[in-house]
Symmetry: C2
Subunit: 331 residues, 2 copies
Amino acid sequence: MPELRKDPVLGRWVIISVERGKRPTDFVSPSQKKKGGFCPFCPGNEYTTPPEILAFRRDGSEPNTPGWSLRVMPNKFPALQMDGMLNKKGEGIYDKMNGVGAHEVIVETPDHNLSLATMPQSAFEDTLWAYYKRLTELKKDTRIKHVLIFKNEGEAAGASLEHSHTQLIALPIVPRTVKDEIQGAKKHYELRERCLFCDIVYQELSDGRRVVCENENYIAIAPFAPRSPFETWILPKTHESAFTHRNNSFAELAELFQKVLKQLDKILDAPAYNFMLHTSPFNDEQNEYYHWHIEVMPKLTKIAGFEWGSGFYINPTPPEEAARFMREAKI
Amino acid sequence: MPELRKDPVLGRWVIISVERGKRPTDFVSPSQKKKGGFCPFCPGNEYTTPPEILAFRRDGSEPNTPGWSLRVMPNKFPALQMDGMLNKKGEGIYDKMNGVGAHEVIVETPDHNLSLATMPQSAFEDTLWAYYKRLTELKKDTRIKHVLIFKNEGEAAGASLEHSHTQLIALPIVPRTVKDEIQGAKKHYELRERCLFCDIVYQELSDGRRVVCENENYIAIAPFAPRSPFETWILPKTHESAFTHRNNSFAELAELFQKVLKQLDKILDAPAYNFMLHTSPFNDEQNEYYHWHIEVMPKLTKIAGFEWGSGFYINPTPPEEAARFMREAKI
């Protein structure tokens, strides 16, 4: 069973993932990603993954066989596991609990050679529906307090398999970064009685310099203080506290989100990147202070001693310039 | 002039470092570190760096010429610059200020082929004295609120030059991670009237499983909730709030610190690593709740979407096992 441990100084949680247990020699020669080798996510290889949780099949094909356009299954080497109780315990001044939670993989396309940037827009829209379906399903388990949906694209961004996929980790606690964002947003709300993210959208639309692209209901911006060059946030223009409280379709979001990824691919030659979906925790999904959004971070700089030690980031590309390069990308 | 910008949601500061200004094409082909090429840190090449701030010369040689055993100079591409005023400003809902501060390089040895792990112990001791001297000197500038000393060893850990060196960034604000650590330590002190780090040292010494090595006055431990495999903390055993408030020599610390680096080199085949020195901020150097320490983090895993989005870390190596491997290393 994985273990969740809390750092007593910072209150930061760490998952000690024994399923992935590593001895020193496992780190000495970094594993090379096999290009063109066997792919467990390609159609025909369904038997090599844990049984699917969800799949979109328009041809009525059987579960765990080819015929799907999108497929969701548990991660074969899960960071957290969905059985048992939390069993919270102290160990002197330290706190720990069992690593209860879910770790799933969303394979967005059967085509090994497509990415989120290059797949048909309808497949991107289906991917967003899959996020929605998994979030609403996992919400029913009362042990789960929060779900983080994220993507590691490219080896430099942490992907261990080449075939395009998103991951999801369902957690028994609201993670620190989400808590900190909510706290910051709440402070602003208490002071001004307005949502901080709505204020950001308003100021960015008036200013214009950091706007990457927009459509009727969504906007993509280079944030004012980006951690990495070309970091881009995607937000609904009007207030929405949770991704799962949407009542319109995902077509418009798919269009804008994919445009951002196409722009990054164009100007940075298909960079490695991460994105994270930040949404209100399950126990407070309808609120006036937090605003769901997606943070896209190309992997262009290294996190080094200064960043680890200070929590500061050094960014060599002003966001105003990054946004201009992205706006001018011919896609 | 570099600019410091604050993220309005998380309060996280970012240095927009125009001196290092990067266009998209600068990221497309990652720069390769030249092995065996020209080295600005080697003796005879002093003219290629900014003039030295401090050097240890036992032979009475002239500044900026060979003959030194340790040399400190400003970073040629500084993230912050030491002229002008902070000029704090708002921009609508955003906050920014001039990037006033210092960014220095401490070249620990004239020998291109030595590392902190392999240099003579006396050279390691001199390195610690150089940290001490720069900290006490920079404290005199009232614009400087905090100094972070850190090392990036190896390209994977962010080093752009091969010749062993430490860096120092002097900041006009206390950085977030240090503030958060102090806040956590203060909370513990308010509750128990004891230093949290002293309690950690006490518990680790009684438990023993996470002790890496120790001598009379210092201890190295694998922390209870490490962010990365083989993360190691070095602390004085009795309470010391600031690195600069030491009154004994650095010999004992050099011995233990170097032993940790030798152990890591041995079991992980000279891994890339970062270390950071955390000490009390200048305006509160003598206190009962914070305890200076060094955090050593081998660069073995990647920071990916989950870590960025949650502030959690996934660690495949339990610290009890990491400490045992290090204790058993034949160095």
